[in-house]
């Protein structure tokens, strides 16, 4: 049942992508709304079966991140004149997330004894939301780089990318903060020297780097957008690589 709805979701996002490329706007919107609606069903099934919020492994969190990304693409107005192009990147990102999750694992995590601890839940909710917002920023930055011009119109793209990247940083920090409380209460210390904590600090350092690229000319803006745009890719790659160890 879960697999069935998972495949339906992927198919609908795939159709949305095709409609976007074909320039069939109305069909794209209908398909996108259907895809996001279908996306809710596997999330609900995970919650129903396991009793925990879907966000505890790659399969669950990528599915949840896809849902958030889909909502952002549909409901956020975006930059005038670029909405369709931004959406195109979002559909590509969602398809990559869902196909990757499928290739890595289709298993649900079994629910731990502390599944209902609120700070643990919040940590696992904010992580995928932050990842999705980062990927949304990536879409803006990618479009800005492809425009190969630096004028008032395109600078909106870079600025919107920067806005969503900061928003994703805020969300990431919220997840970190809830994680800190969780660890302090459960393990007696808010910091552990291990891969999980190191991964979080790497993501944080990367985000800091993206906000501290010097220069004001087009070249600097391009480079800033490249680093900012790669943030979503970086986080997804790091999450995938880490899942193997």
């Amino acid at each position: 049942m879960l697999s069935l709805f998972y495949y339906i979701t992927i198919t609908l996002y795939g159709l949305t992508f095709i409609f976007n490329v074909s320039g069939l706007k109305r069909y794209e919107i209908v398909s996108a709304v259907s895809a996001v609606t279908a996306n809710i069903i596997p999330l609900f099934l995970i919650f129903y079966r396991s009793g925990h919020f879907p966000g505890y492994n790659i399969y669950e969190s990528f599915l949840f991140a896809s849902f958030i990304l889909g909502c952002l693409a549909i409901f956020v107005p975006g930059v005038k004149g670029y909405t369709s192009k931004i959406r195109l990147w979002v559909w590509i990102e969602i398809l990559i997330l869902l196909i990757t999750a499928l290739l890595i694992s289709e298993e649900l995590t079994s629910t731990g004894f502390d599944y209902n601890y609120i700070y643990k839940i919040l940590f696992h909710i904010f992580r995928p939301i932050s990842m999705a917002t980062m990927l949304y920023a990536t879409a803006y930055f990618t479009q800005f780089i492809l425009e190969r011009e630096f004028n008032e119109r395109t600078s909106w793209l870079a600025h919107a990318g920067r806005n969503f990247l900061i928003l994703s940083t805020v969300l990431f920090l919220v997840s970190e903060y809830t994680g800190i409380i969780w660890c302090q209460q459960e393990f007696g210390d808010f910091w552990m020297w291990n891969q999980n904590f190191m991964q979080s600090t790497i993501i944080m350092s990367y985000l800091m780097l993206a906000f501290h690229i010097p220069g004001k000319d087009k070249r600097a803006e391009d480079f800033r957008s490249l680093i900012g745009g790669l943030s979503g890719v970086f986080v997804v790659t790091l999450t995938i690589v880490r899942s193997f160890f």
Binding site: G51, S110, T111, G112, F113, D114, Y115, Y117, E152, R153, S155, W156, H159, N163, I166, L167, T169, V170, L173, V174, Y177, I180, I181, Q184, Q185, E186, F187, G188, D189, F190, W191, M192, W193, N194, Q195, M198, Q199, T201, I202, S205, Y206, M208, L209, H212, I213, P214, F245
Partner: protein, 281 residues
């Protein structure tokens, strides 16, 4: 500003330093995933970092080098932050006041404090992890402190006692009904007596006694565990004098970034440009 202070305040230094921090952390990530450093990282987690640094342990040389390296890079980031902030303050006072820039300055100050208090947590106070105790047992700690376990109540499946954290499932342990009665005393004087649960440590000033897990009695093998067995517990005792401040500053930093985002969501320059485009149309 002199040339050195200009360089110390530069964004180029920030960016290159962050690249170095990233690479250093990736090295740490690889080491943390390697079997060769498993014991080293366990030792690092067991006690306060200050004490770990002082411990003469031949196996931890590379880890200590790595830790000192990350501290030096963070110190450079701190120096860079101070010089850069000073330059910004100078500009705000002398040249032009800008709300978003002022907010950003505050956010940077909060970040500096978060990093400083994080380091404080590594260096100040006390930490002892993985103390295994059974009913009626006690352990002596630094400064005359002593922790004694009066009673242990375990509501769960005894088969999980030797399982790792990740392998304890929803129905294996009722953590809300599993607790230990703990007495914290100093030089024989009782300071506090309370039931501690997972997620509900005993607090006395900056000292916390945290119940981490329930374990098999030390020395007992699987065959000896039956329905009458009373499990032992694993405790962490910490004294972090900067913890409460850290917990206050961290959300303030997040709120600061969020306010800055709201203030700069529509960049003034872009607003002007859009206005011009609208007018020309």
């Amino acid at each position: 500003m002199s040339k050195i202070s200009e360089k110390l305040a530069s964004l180029h230094l920030t960016a290159w330093n962050l690249v170095a921090i990233l690479l250093w952390l990736i090295w740490g990530l690889i080491m943390a995933g390697s079997v060769a450093f498993k014991m080293g990282f366990s030792a690092m987690n067991r006690i306060l970092i200050r004490d770990w640094l002082m411990t003469p342990d031949a196996d931890s040389h590379l880890l200590k080098l790595w830790f000192i390296g990350i501290c030096l890079l963070m110190t450079l980031l701190g120096v860079n932050l101070i010089f850069c902030s000073w330059e910004k303050i100078y500009r705000i006072i002398r040249v032009k006041f800008s709300g978003p820039k002022f907010y950003m300055l505050i956010v940077h100050a909060f970040f500096g404090l978060v990093a400083l208090f994080h380091l404080g947590g590594f260096m100040l106070g006390y930490e002892q992890n993985d103390i295994s105790l059974g009913e009626g047992m006690s352990t002596k700690l630094r400064d005359g402190y002593e922790v004694k376990i009066n009673a242990i109540n375990f509501a769960g499946n005894l088969a999980i006692l030797d399982k790792s954290y990740r392998n304890i499932k929803k129905d294996d342990l009722n953590y809300k009904n599993s607790y230990a009665e703990v007495v914290l005393s100093q030089n024989g004087r009782e300071l506090r007596k309370d039931n501690i649960y997972i997620f509900m440590p005993l607090k006395y000033g900056d000292t916390r006694v945290t119940l981490k897990s329930f374990i098999s009695p030390v020395g007992a093998n699987q065959g000896q565990i039956n329905a009458t067995t009373t499990p032992w517990i694993k405790l962490t005792v910490t004294k972090n004098p900067v913890l409460s401040v850290f917990f206050v500053i961290y959300p303030l930093m997040i709120i600061g970034i969020f306010i800055h985002l709201i203030l700069t969501w529509k960049s003034p320059a872009i607003n002007r440009a859009i206005q011009e485009l609208t007018d020309s149309n």
